[in-house]
């Protein structure tokens, strides 16, 4: 997993609540057995005018000019600004894979669905919860200024706007540590092998039926 320390990124606004993971990456792309290559199909049904299937040459497909991410001013965005309950629905990790592959490293919303939120951290994406009023303000600022960028500083847990406003955010200590260092959980958990074995041994005596 890539480290996440500080990001100075162009912001793209996706002004919808309850964006579900089916919308982020439709099911036909879940047939892949790989982790990469989902970016061109992120938001596929909103982004293109024809129906997408795996294996198509996406560069030849008609794009939907009305979809916000297709506007030239948002090309190259790495911060996604969106509304409440982002990432609801299916647990598919293909959703953060697709967003990452598209180029997003940080997502700002008033709230996220739990599984998606968790999946982001496993892939070096920082989901940031901010008050709905602040999110509103950011939507207005993005709309009003082409090339609007935000600085996301994980170490200091702040988002800095172009005018220098510093907006603090919360992040779990463990998740922050993993992101800053690019650690994945498996390596960290395996430091506790002895504790797991000891737990398992006791547990097996107490509930032997779980080990049949």
């Amino acid at each position: 997993m890539d480290k996440f320390t500080k990001l100075d990124g162009l912001v793209a606004p996706l002004d919808r609540a309850n964006v579900d993971t089916d919308a982020i990456i439709p099911k036909q792309f879940l047939k892949s057995i790989k982790r990469s290559g989902f970016g061109p199909n992120a938001f596929d049904e909103w982004r293109y005018l024809n129906h997408g299937e795996p294996g198509m040459d996406n560069s030849k497909r008609p794009v939907n000019p009305d979809f916000v991410l297709n506007q030239p001013r948002y090309h190259g965005a790495s911060v996604l600004l969106t509304r409440e309950n982002f990432g609801c629905g299916s647990s598919r990790e293909h959703a953060p894979w697709a967003l990452l592959d598209y180029g997003f490293r940080a997502i700002i919303a008033p709230s996220f669905a739990d599984i998606f939120f968790n999946n982001c951290f496993k892939n070096g994406i920082l989901p940031i919860k901010l008050d709905a009023a602040i999110v509103d303000q950011l939507f207005n600022e993005v709309a009003g200024q082409e090339g609007y960028k935000l600085t996301v500083d994980l170490e200091n847990q702040v988002v800095v706007t172009p005018s220098g406003q510093r907006i603090a955010f919360e992040v779990d200590a463990h998740r922050k540590y993993c992101l800053l260092n690019g650690f994945d959980d498996i390596g960290l958990t395996l430091r506790h092998v002895d504790a797991i074995k000891a737990f398992e041994a006791k547990y097996k005596v107490a509930q032997p039926w779980l080990f049949n």
Binding site: D22, D114, W209
Partner: protein, 469 residues
């Protein structure tokens, strides 16, 4: 101190805890399907690791399998990419020695149907699967939730999950359900009340006399949809109904182990006076049959109701969502639900494909005919064993005589990864759990309902109140 069921399940599985509350939770049962596991097995292989406890894993292909003729086996799956995914699961299970019910095994079915059916889901367990509807298994007084693929690999490698304790919510439903009102209607009514994000950050315990009165099938339907209310986990306390259901199933404990297990399971309920972070109460008698009208499960009304008017929306964000939903669904504000005609019907999915669901739908369909405007009415049993049971009871004949198609088990048109899908603009009465844009096929329009309501809609050609049917 009085504990909630969730406290008990959580505490009994903590292996290690950090100062910030991040814990390692021991996992008892790991269910695996073909869509969210290939990258996890690949990661395991690349790191030269093996599953920590292979006996905890049960695998099944369900999302990509055809529901039509399977006589030529996996090689007969028409879509080469779907086929590769099923083959990859088979190969990974062979390589690592994982128990798998392959496509043509009679025990094959939707992962959340077969776990309980086999007794592989037991009270007191932690159950995970790379699938959000793992919440289903909480019906057994288990702590069950969906995980992502990185976590699938993590559980394979370490038998643990890194997690933080959620808050606890109690959803209390007291009283008696009206005839024709089901667990599905309770689930949709709860989501209508608290919203699809209402349960975010919580584990929900469903309690109250109406819940205790539900069968295990009904409790599974309810817990299945906890995720649609935003909660990763839903659960119901253990009682005689739970224990009777588990008894004698292939993976369930036997002989003295059974008695010891039951003694332990009897403690799996919230203590008198246990504190919840939030409590939501519903009166069972007030719940009517529900129909979703929009593109999120919270966009739901009673069958006697109408598509809501923008004036009823709580804010601009919701107004925007509703406007988009009207357009996508091809509906207008204030339209009566009973005036919405349908093109297809889907009875199936991990929400409503168990024997009881099929019996309920068959009771409505019996001796009647699917309406002429309904192009396709599908019944897809949740597992090969459900299918066999239904056939033994003659349900397949009832459905076929009424004009329904009777299929092989799998996820099917719940998410349309196989050939079963809606075409653009087609409208479906579906017993599944998600009505998102494109969920059942690009441009498809989904209305979520109970099995009884779906069968009644199939016969009438539009939504009708099954209580007057």
């Amino acid at each position: 101190m009085a504990k909630t069921l969730y406290d008990k399940l959580w505490e009994s599985h903590v292996v290690h805890q950090e100062a910030d509350g991040t814990a390692l939770i021991y996992i008892d049962r790991h269910l695996v399907h073909e869509v969210t596991s290939p990258q996890a097995f690949e990661g395991l292989k690349l790191a030269g690791r093996k599953p920590w406890r292979v006996g905890s894993i049960l695998a099944v292909p369900d999302h990509n399998v055809p529901t039509t003729d399977r006589s030529s086996g996996v090689s007969g799956i028409a879509d080469p990419i779907s086929r590769l995914q099923v083959e990859t699961l088979d190969q990974n299970c062979t390589d690592f020695g994982v128990t798998e019910f392959k496509m043509n095994d009679q025990r094959q079915g939707i992962v959340h149907v077969i776990g309980p059916e086999q007794g592989a889901t037991l009270p007191g367990m932690t159950v995970v699967c790379g699938d959000s509807h793992t919440s289903t298994h909480g019906a057994f007084g288990a702590l069950a939730h969906g995980i992502g693929t990185s976590e699938v690999e993590h559980v394979l490698a370490t038998q643990c999950l890194v997690a933080k304790k959620s808050k606890a919510m109690q959803v209390k439903v007291e009283g008696q359900l009206q005839k024709g009102v089901t667990a599905k209607d309770i689930a949709l009514a709860v989501i209508g009340k608290i919203g699809t994000a209402g349960g975010t950050g919580y584990a929900i315990e469903f309690a109250g006399s109406a819940i205790r009165g539900l069968s295990m099938e009904g409790r599974m339907t309810l817990c299945n949809m906890a995720i649609e209310a935003g909660a990763r986990a839903g659960m119901v306390a253990v009682d005689d109904i739970t224990i009777d259901y588990v008894k004698g199933r292939p993976f369930a404990p036997k002989a003295e182990q059974w008695d010891a297990a039951v003694a332990y399971w009897r403690m799996l309920h919230s203590d008198e006076g246990a504190k919840f972070d939030a409590v939501v109460e519903l009166k069972a008698g007030d719940i009517q049959p529900q129909v979703t009208w929009g593109t999120s499960p919270e966009m739901v009304v009673e069958v006697s109701g109408r598509v809501p008017d923008l004036a009823q929306a709580k804010d601009d964000v919701q107004r925007g969502d509703w406007e988009r939903a009207y357009a996508y669904m091809g509906l207008q504000a204030n339209m009566r639900i009973s005036e919405i005609n349908i093109d297809k019907v889907f009875i199936g999915s991990c929400t409503n494909s168990r024997i009881e669901d099929l019996r309920a739908a068959a009771t409505v369909a019996k001796g009647r005919k699917v309406a002429a405007n309904v192009k396709l009415a599908l019944v897809v049993p949740g597992s090969g064993l459900v299918k066999a049971q239904a056939e033994q009871e003659g349900l397949d004949k009832i459905f076929k005589e009424a004009g329904f198609e009777w299929r092989e088990p799998g996820c099917s048109m719940c998410l349309a990864m196989n050939a079963d899908r809606l075409e653009p603009g087609e409208r479906c009465a579906s017993t599944s759990n998600r009505n998102f844009e494109g969920r059942q096929g690009q441009g498809g329009r989904t209305h979520l309902v109970s099995p009884e309501m779906a069968a009644a809609a199939a016969i009438a050609g539009h939504f009708v109140d099954v209580r007057n049917f």
